[in-house]
């Protein structure tokens, strides 16, 4: 079977025209993705380990910021409960454009093992998600891979794009 690289510069066959300014700006954006530390549960410990010395996050240019206003990507690590859902939406709305979301772990993807009354069944009911990370808890290397995929995704987007309408406002 022939292996092929997914050409991320093509979108369903049609090439996206990226000018060199676009490429430069997006290269800059991808190499300094500042993350909002949104560690909710067990995946937060793995996210902290990913930021630790063995799986260093700083070499990707990713620094954990406390305030949503400073950050580009929101890594939702852990279970989102219905009590907390409102705050997540608020924090997402407070982030400045351009922003991305990585949903880390089973609980953030789909509610995980907690098929109960108080768990939001997937954080994409509330906010639009770019990268889903499976695992319970995903290893720090998985989070690194997700970050690199996100960097690839950022580089193929135009610099001036308007927020593409996703399933939710």
């Amino acid at each position: 079977m022939a292996q092929h690289q997914v050409e991320y510069l093509n979108s369903g066959g049609l090439p996206i025209a990226l000018t060199s300014v676009d490429k430069l700006v997006q290269w800059g954006r991808s190499n300094s993705v500042w993350a909002l530390s949104y560690g909710l549960a067990c995946c937060a410990i793995e996210m902290m380990a990913a930021g630790g010395s063995r799986y260093d996050f700083d070499r990707f240019g990713t620094i954990f910021r406390a305030s949503p206003r400073h950050s580009d990507v929101m890594i939702i690590a852990g279970t989102l409960t219905k009590k907390h859902a409102e705050f997540t939406r608020r924090l997402y709305d407070q982030m400045a454009e351009p922003k991305w979301v990585i949903s880390m772990g089973s609980c953030a993807n789909t509610g995980g093992m907690f098929n109960t009354y108080s768990t939001v069944q997937g954080v994409d009911r509330i906010i639009p998600v770019d990268i889903y990370l499976p695992g319970c808890a995903p290893r720090p290397e998985t989070l690194q891979y997700a970050l690199m995929l996100l960097q690839k995704k950022i580089r193929r987007q135009g610099a001036n794009r308007k927020q593409a309408l996703k399933r939710l406002v």
Binding site: V6, W27, K82, N115, V120, G122, M148, R155
Partner: protein, 264 residues
């Protein structure tokens, strides 16, 4: 014919029961003269009306009337049980019409544990024991939140674990595990409003639902495609960077990766 659902207990039940099976119980021992708990029990009996007392699993269990819970705990406190480890309720509404509230006590000097139990019929209120042990403050709030048992004279009787405007008391046996309608739409209602229910759609509570042809929500491992592109049979290479690499950043490919035997 639709499946019979017992409305009094919507938790999962064993689908097969041996008709003639009688489950054994944990043995209960009398508190005899030479038992460790004898001194405690005599002390407590002098101060409060004890309905029943036995030793189960190495711990003393004392049954009292619900109106006497504060005096029973005060009696135990004078007997040396200075620590309330835990307290909560068990839902027996369908079987007996009420809750079994238990208080788990610990005496550090005597190395003993005891449990005070009382039966609270549904609808009756219980007096709070925060004046005796402060750790009951939050335990009672949690008990109210989960079961709906009201407490008198509690300093801050408010829901603890569920949001303040939650409808229903989750740990009752009549409350389904996945929540009733108010629960399932709670977050959509509070954030976006009821009109958005159709926009977002119901929750997916089926853990086994996988639609392989759906490339928007799922991605076939080893054969990933762009979101929305047609389902492909050719395997995709897993690379960290685009072909040709990125400017200034060092290039990594799978061939250049080294496999280490020992972690440094």
């Amino acid at each position: 014919m639709r499946r019979y659902q017992d409305k009094h207990n919507v938790q999962k039940q064993a689908y097969y029961t041996d008709r003639f099976n009688v489950q054994p119980s944990l043995p209960r021992f009398e508190v005899t003269e030479d038992s460790l708990f004898n001194a405690t029990l005599l002390h407590v009996k002098g101060l409060v009306d004890v309905l029943e007392a036995y030793v189960e699993a190495g711990q003393l269990v004392v049954w009292v009337a619900p109106k006497a819970n504060v005096s029973a705990l005060k009696a135990f406190k004078t007997a040396g049980y200075e620590n309330l480890s835990e307290m909560s309720a068990v839902d027996f509404i369908a079987q007996k019409g009420g809750f079994e509230v238990f208080y788990q006590l610990l005496s550090m000097e005597k190395h003993e544990r005891a449990r005070v139990k009382c039966f609270v019929p549904q609808g009756e209120t219980l007096h709070s024991v925060t004046e005796v042990y402060k750790s009951a403050n939050w335990s009672e709030r949690e008990m109210y939140d989960m079961f709906g048992i009201l407490l008198e004279n509690h300093p801050y009787m408010k829901r603890l674990l569920m949001p303040d405007d939650w409808q229903g008391h989750p740990l009752l046996k009549t409350y389904p595990l996945q929540g009733d309608e108010a629960a399932q739409w709670y977050e959509i209602d509070t954030i976006f409003g009821k009109e958005y229910r159709e926009v977002v759609g119901p929750e997916n509570r089926d853990p086994a639902r996988v639609d392989a042809r759906n490339t928007v929500d799922f991605s076939r491992i080893g054969h990933e495609v762009e979101s929305g592109a047609p389902y492909s049979a050719t395997p995709t290479a897993q690379e960290y960077q685009e072909k040709g690499g990125i400017a200034v950043v060092s290039k990594i490919t799978k061939e250049k990766a080294k496999t280490l035997k020992e972690r440094p």
